[in-house]
Symmetry: C2
Subunit: 310 residues, 2 copies
């Protein structure tokens, strides 16, 4: 095996590059802006240029792993709305320029889960699931050390798990009541606005010009009743999603990442309590933890993908 | 490879034996009663005796696959309440008597899913899930042609998926509101008794001394309003479970088996409609079908296990 591996996380705003040694230790990282104009055609050249600029000798690179924001099946990118891509074969597009056949691709949320399983909060565990609670909700599932892709690349789409609720909110996907509408940063604001309608007391949140999910968590930690009721409801939904992951794929660790996870133990404890109310007893040893790699989970997981898809 | 394979399905009432050729065609099958007294200790000898009686030459047998009613991890049986077994290593118990090291074991519902994926309703598919709606609800998930076991053998426990409901019913597992309480044969009767309380019209079901799930399906097919409302509610729960399987493991086929599945297309059409209301659009090509192997799914899947765990 050659001494270096690239892990590259292609997002709608920026492309993150990580150069790793063969022990998957990060040697250096950087990022460039994503240019999604013209159906994202310039992304391929931008990636090649940036790699060449940072790599004196391409023959030292074992392979390149990529995470992309859309469904992927057997290294083939089906659709990335944020990049403008449709039916993209990254191996075909990059092989000649990089002089390398070892190019592997996964969905970004799946790859992040793999990163946490390899080197983050679930280090060394073989059966891991991850929920990334950001602007939306992503998820990834690792089974026996391998990424679960499903029959058409849509495994681990917990963001679009329908949660039976009295007042389901419309989701970008066209459905109503998806986990994403009540457990993402946006979703927590949705719950706040709904509960606020019937709330009769005073809330410290009323002093804010703009109430975001961080403000809600901060107020809840300080004892604000309205904020606590919002967090409790969100924790139930997240705990329910963990239960769904448990009865289907039975992970030993469920990792919670994304901006919402910055609420830390305050959130994890509530989610764990909800999970324990729902869990099938023989598998109640599953633990729920916060992510450790932050925004780097994608590059770590992408590099890991090079190792497992030799 | 030797010319024959055994697939053996150990149930609480009977042990089913199937002798297959190397193309996994069934050559002969039979069953014996299960003797679970004395912590199921005599089961091992009963199995060996029955195999020897039906097999002129044990050296012609490539291997033995087993399905057992409890969680299994890497061929190790953790617990089978119905058999009286706890921490049983079937390889250890049978290797010497059968003069064979190739002894593989899986959970019965998982193994049934594998049977339907290899040779039944989902023949040749690599990503398959199965719900067995009998007295309880079992389930199994096949990913890339392999059984999903999870970190402690509890993957595919959809029977204990909690369904958010207004009046959840107590389950044998100690929780309330499990899928099993509303989607098994018993569960469909539970829904009938609940809906009947508020039903004001006349139902043809009132003419029956005992209302079982078959009577409910027959009455619904004949247009009985109460029976239709029971079946519609059960179909929603089963459709929701299919949705949960879809957003987690993304199978191409979901197989519905067990006694309840005898309701056939009448049920499948309603379940499919509910599933399509909930499905994440990129994976709406998943099909829901009835099982084809009936009570033989277990022996087929157990024989298949010998092939995939070489």
């Amino acid at each position: 095996m050659k001494p270096y591996v690239y892990g590259i996380d292609i997002g709608g705003t920026s492309i993150k590059f990580g150069l790793f040694n063969r022990q998957l230790q990060l040697e250096k990282k950087w990022e460039i802006p994503t240019n999604s104009s013209n159906n994202g055609e310039s992304i391929f050249g931008d990636i090649v240029d940036s790699i060449k600029m940072h790599t004196p000798d391409l023959s030292q690179i074992e392979g390149y792993g990529f995470g992309v924001p859309g469904p992927v099946l057997k290294n083939y990118v089906q659709m990335c709305v944020n990049l403008g891509w449709k039916n993209v074969d990254l191996q075909d597009r990059l092989r000649d320029e990089l002089k390398n056949d070892h190019i592997v691709v996964g969905n970004d949320a799946n790859v992040a889960a793999l990163g946490e399983a390899f080197l983050g909060a679930a280090k060394g565990r073989k059966n891991v699931a991850m929920l990334t609670l950001g602007t939306g909700v992503g998820s990834g599932i690792v089974v026996d050390g391998r990424l679960l892709e499903g029959h058409n690349g849509s495994a681990g789409e917990l963001g679009h798990l329908t949660i039976p609720q009295e007042q389901p909110i419309a989701c970008n996907c066209g459905k109503k009541g998806c986990l994403e509408t009540v457990a993402s940063a946006t979703g927590i604001r949705n719950i706040y606005h709904r509960l606020n309608e019937d709330f009769t007391g005073h809330s410290t949140l009323y002093d804010n010009d703009y109430v975001d999910s961080k403000a809600i968590f901060d107020a809840a930690k300080a004892g604000d009743k309205l904020a606590i009721s919002v967090v409790d409801e969100a924790a139930y939904y997240i705990g329910y999603a963990c239960h769904v992951l448990s009865v289907t794929t039975d992970p030993s660790v469920i990792v919670i990442g994304g901006g919402v996870s910055k609420a830390g133990e305050f959130l994890i404890e509530k989610v764990t309590n909800e999970f324990h109310r729902l869990v099938f007893q023989p598998t109640n040893d599953t633990v729920i933890v916060t992510a450790q790699l932050g925004n780097d989970a994608g590059i770590y997981g992408a590099a890991g993908l090079v190792k497992i898809r030799g």
